[in-house]
Each structure stands twice: as structure tokens, then as C-alpha cells.
Amino acid sequence: MADNLESAIDEVIHTEALTKVYPGDILAVDGLDLSVARGEIFGLLGPNGAGKTTTAGMLTTRVIPTGGTAFVGGIDVVAHPTAAKQVIGVVPQTNTLDRSLTVWENLYFHGRFFGMNAKTSKAEATRLLEQFRLSDRATVDVSALSGGMAQRLMVARAIMHRPAILFLDEPTAGLDPQSRIALWDILGELHTDGQTILLTTHYMEEADELCDRLAIIDHGKLLALDTPANLKRSVGIDAMITVSATGDLDRLASVLRDSLTTATKVESVDGVVRVWMQQLVGVLPAIIDAAEKQGFTVTDLSSTEPTLETVFISLTGKDLRE
């Protein structure tokens, strides 16, 4: 009993068979089961169009599910959207700051929207600008902010009412590398303070760097869910070798399959041959050898340790960046 109670309290997001079919029979999210624990950074990783934003949209009351259930902070988001909105903070993909207000006023009114009195909201707005190193911009119009600053302000706004969970939709898309790292630092600090975070991303480095657990989704379906480390281990391979060569790549794949007896998998995809191996010692010369004996010219050869990218490729057969 106590166990159940505790786990119920500690589960901030819970979905069962969550489904969204858009008009025209477009299946965006297909029976998603998710559980996000309090205090974790949870990532939804997948290519564009995988259903990440739709999933985040359903959890934040903007998209109405066509099937299944979704609870945020123990609140049914479909039945009680107003109550759900009280416990979520959202940083959307695009800049949605109030252009008619200054930087400080954006925070002040956000606090008021969420029920703070004038005094509390004023103090919080000022404190947050300090925390997010935006104090010197307090009185400027938000249109005068750089992309990175606008993003920081949106994060400050989203956490101002102390949401049980913070949603970030592709938070670093379109940010310069410096701003991206600054944002990662901020999210790291929030995480240390115990903030539960759900973010969607198609940058695997971001997912790897930030997330405690990851759900890899494609075509609206959950393909894998685990810690980044476990996901990389789960693929069961040490490395992926990519061979670029001239000639009939299907034939090259079968040549390599015959000559590399320890290869887990050899396949010809996207104009290259991919070889999945348990160990790399002596393999690269052997590949060149085998290929050239059969009249192929190897133009490029590279090996990669398992990354989330290789996990994604092994799960879907395609590149995350496409």
C-alpha cells in the first residue's frame, strides 16, 4: 500500500496507450506508454515527424488525444486541462514571448497569470532575471533579445510558477553552440534542484548529455526506453564500421559478410556498407583487403563506438538526421 502510494506520488507523467490520429488518418502517436519519475530528465528522441511534439502537445493540453490516457502530476490532462496547466511549465519550439511587454514584465505577468499576488510576482520576476543573468535587460523589449537570451527568458518564465514538470520542445534547435551549452548548464542546475524535465530532441548528443532516461520514438511508436548507457549496451555491439566504395554495394556487402566471420551484421544502406563488429582489432585492413581483392575501391572507411545514433540506426535502419 505504502509502496503504491509512494510510486504514485513519484510518478510525474504516466501515459497508457496514448494515441493521436490527426484528421486524414494521419497516425502521429501510436499507443505510447510512458512513465516519468519525479526528479529525472526524460528525453523523447526521434527524427522530425516522429511524434515527439505531438506527444508533448498532448501532455501539455494543446493536442487532444484520440485514444489512451495521460496523467501529469496525477491529473488527467484531458478531463482536467485547467488543473493540469497549473502544474506544467512549457518552453515551446518557437519564441512565444509577449512582444508588447518588456523582459521583466513578461515574467511579472506570467506570475500573475498563475495566481501570484503583485508583490510576490515582482520579487520572483526580479530574482529569476538575476538567476538567468538577464537583469541588465530587464527594461528592454523582448524583441531586442538574442535567440539564446530569449530562450533563457522562456525557461525562466516556464519555471516561475514552480511546475511539477518542465517541458522543453527541441530547446536548442536554432541556437548557436555557445547558447546551447549555456542552456544545458541551466537545465543541469534545475535538475540538481530536483526539477523534473521532459525534453524532446533530435540531437543525440543533447539526449546523451542531459537525459537520465530516453524514449526513442519513430512513427509515433516507442522503440526503446532506457538510460543512454543501457541503450548503447543493449545494441550488443562494440562498433559500427561504415565503408564507402565504388561499385555494386550489395555485392560488396555479401563479400564482406563472407570474409568477416565475426561480423554481427553487414548491410548495404544509403550508399554505404555498414559492418557491425564485436571487436575492431585488425578489421579495417581486412575489409580493405577483401574489398580490393574483389575489384572494389574503398574510398572511405570509418568506425564509431556505439552512440545513440548507432542505437537509433540499429532500431530503425535509418539515420536520425534524415
Partner: protein
């Protein structure tokens, strides 16, 4: 299992413990406060956009024309009657323009390039009330402009304006007119987007105003019967006629027609506006 020490150092949500009703009420008034703050900051825009059009209208029709011996209503008593008649039209017109300028046009922007609406609908209140707040704010803008414009219409004309204020009608009709125009603004704001918004003026506002009983009392259309009946689909007709009843001794349409029509249009625009708004923000 016995330990209840919270893992998080982040305090409980600020809104926790507030019932959703309280949260909704606070969010609604905070949104109004935001709109009033923006209005105050943009007073430099609000005043000219509110005052210039009615001023020019009144100035040209009721000052310039009589002075140069040309124009509407002839001279003398006719001109005085026209000036009096026009007061109501000018007040009605400026309330309607506020519905468009303070609700419809900002919404087209918020839905379009700024996407601000996406944040606004995350305020802890039902989406329909986010839309209703826009109507309320537009109505308030309409009220301010009516108060500003009325003296212009009464003072500028070269010929004396004969006002005869019917307070019960004025005090009930003004809020109703302001609400109706706020709801009209909401409907337009959800129907048009940044690409189609020029059409709003070209094919909607223009006929609404020219055929809205602003420049002539509805009853004077008697000789053109088909037009007199045709303009009854125009909500502005009832509003201007209503102000004629509230402010002047000029003959006007029956109040028994004005009130039901305005209530009906208010309900229609509220329904159209809210469903259009929901369609735009929820998927």
C-alpha cells in the same frame, strides 16, 4: 519507505492548493491587467487611432460641408438634424473599430508570426475563457473610445447638435454594444490570418460601415425597400440605431428590435469566436 523526506528542493507549485475556479478567476483578471498595461503603454497609438477617424468624419461632414454651403442635409435645420443624427453613428463606428483594432488585429498577429497565443492558452484557465478575455478587453477598449469620441461628435459640428439622452437606454445599450463588437473582433480574429487580413477591411469592414446606418437613419432607407431589408443582417445598423435612441431625439428603429438583435448577434459572435479560437489553438 518510512522516510518522507522530499527528494526535491524545489518548492511545491505556486498554484498548488488553489482550486481551479480560483486559478481561472485570477488568470482572467491578470490577463485583463496585462491588456490594460499594454493599452497604457501604447496610448500614443490608441489615441490617434481612436480619435482621428471620428474627428475627420465629423469635421468634414458637419463642419466643412455646412460652412462651404455644400453637403448633406442642406443648410440650417437640415444640417443640424444631420449633425445630431451623425453623433450616434460616430459613436457606434468607433466602438466597432475598437473591436477590430484591439481584438481582431492583435489576434491575427498572435496567431501568426509572434505565436504568443501558444503561451496565453497555457494560463491555468479554460481555453474558451482565454477567448472571452479578449472579448472583455475589446469591450473595455470600445467603452473608452466611446467616451472619448462622444464629445467630439457633440462639439465639433458647425451647427448645433440636439442631444436628448435617454439614460436607461444609454447605460444598457453601451455595454451591450461594446460586448458585441468585442465578440465581433474575436470572430474576425479567428477567421482571418495574416495573409487574408487585408480582405477584412476591403470586403467586410467597408460594407459594414457604409451600410451600417452611420450616415443616415435606418428608417430613411424606406424609399429603397430592398436595401432597407438587406442591411438588417448588419449588426452595426442596430447599434447605431440604438445610440440614436439613447442620445438623440431623431426617429429610430424600435428598441424592441434593437435589443433582441444585438443580444442575438452577441451570442452568435461569441459562439463563432470561441469555436474558431478553439479550432486554432487546439488540435
Amino acid at each position: 519507505m518510512t522516510s518522507m523526506t522530499p527528494r526535491a528542493t524545489i518548492p511545491a507549485p505556486a498554484t498548488l492548493g488553489q482550486s481551479t475556479r480560483v486559478a481561472t478567476r485570477r488568470a482572467f483578471f491578470a490577463l485583463m491587467l496585462r491588456d490594460l498595461t499594454v493599452l497604457r503603454k501604447q496610448l500614443g497609438q490608441f489615441l490617434p487611432r481612436t480619435l482621428l477617424q471620428p474627428f475627420l468624419l465629423v469635421f468634414v461632414f458637419t463642419y466643412v460641408f455646412p460652412k462651404i454651403g455644400q453637403g448633406v442635409g442642406g443648410s440650417g435645420a437640415g444640417a443640424a438634424l444631420f449633425s445630431t443624427m451623425l453623433v450616434a453613428g460616430v459613436v457606434g463606428l468607433s466602438i466597432m473599430f475598437q473591436g477590430i483594432q484591439s481584438v481582431a488585429l492583435p489576434m491575427v498577429q498572435e496567431f501568426g508570426y509572434t505565436r504568443e497565443i501558444e503561451d496565453r492558452v497555457l494560463a491555468p484557465m479554460p481555453v474558451s475563457l482565454v477567448a472571452m478575455e479578449k472579448v472583455a478587453s475589446g469591450a473595455l477598449n470600445g467603452l473608452f473610445s466611446a467616451i472619448l469620441v462622444f464629445p467630439i461628435a457633440a462639439i465639433v459640428p458647425a451647427t448645433p447638435v440636439h442631444l436628448q439622452i435617454n439614460w436607461p437606454v444609454l447605460l444598457t445599450l453601451t455595454p451591450l454594444a461594446c460586448y458585441m463588437c468585442g465578440a465581433l473582433g474575436l470572430t474576425f480574429g479567428t477567421l482571418f490570418d495574416s495573409r487574408t487580413v487585408p480582405l477584412l477591411f476591403g470586403i467586410v469592414v467597408l460594407p459594414l460601415t457604409f451600410l451600417g446606418a452611420i450616415y443616415y437613419p435606418w428608417q430613411s432607407l424606406e424609399p429603397i425597400r430592398w436595401l432597407q431589408i438587406g442591411v438588417l443582417v448588419n449588426p452595426l445598423v442596430y447599434m447605431c440605431e440604438g445610440f440614436r435612441a439613447a442620445l438623440t431625439p431623431v426617429p429610430h428603429m424600435s428598441l424592441w428590435a434593437i435589443y433582441p438583435a444585438m443580444i442575438g448577434f452577441s451570442a452568435l459572435f461569441t459562439w463563432l469566436g470561441i469555436s474558431g479560437f478553439k479550432k486554432r489553438v487546439l488540435s
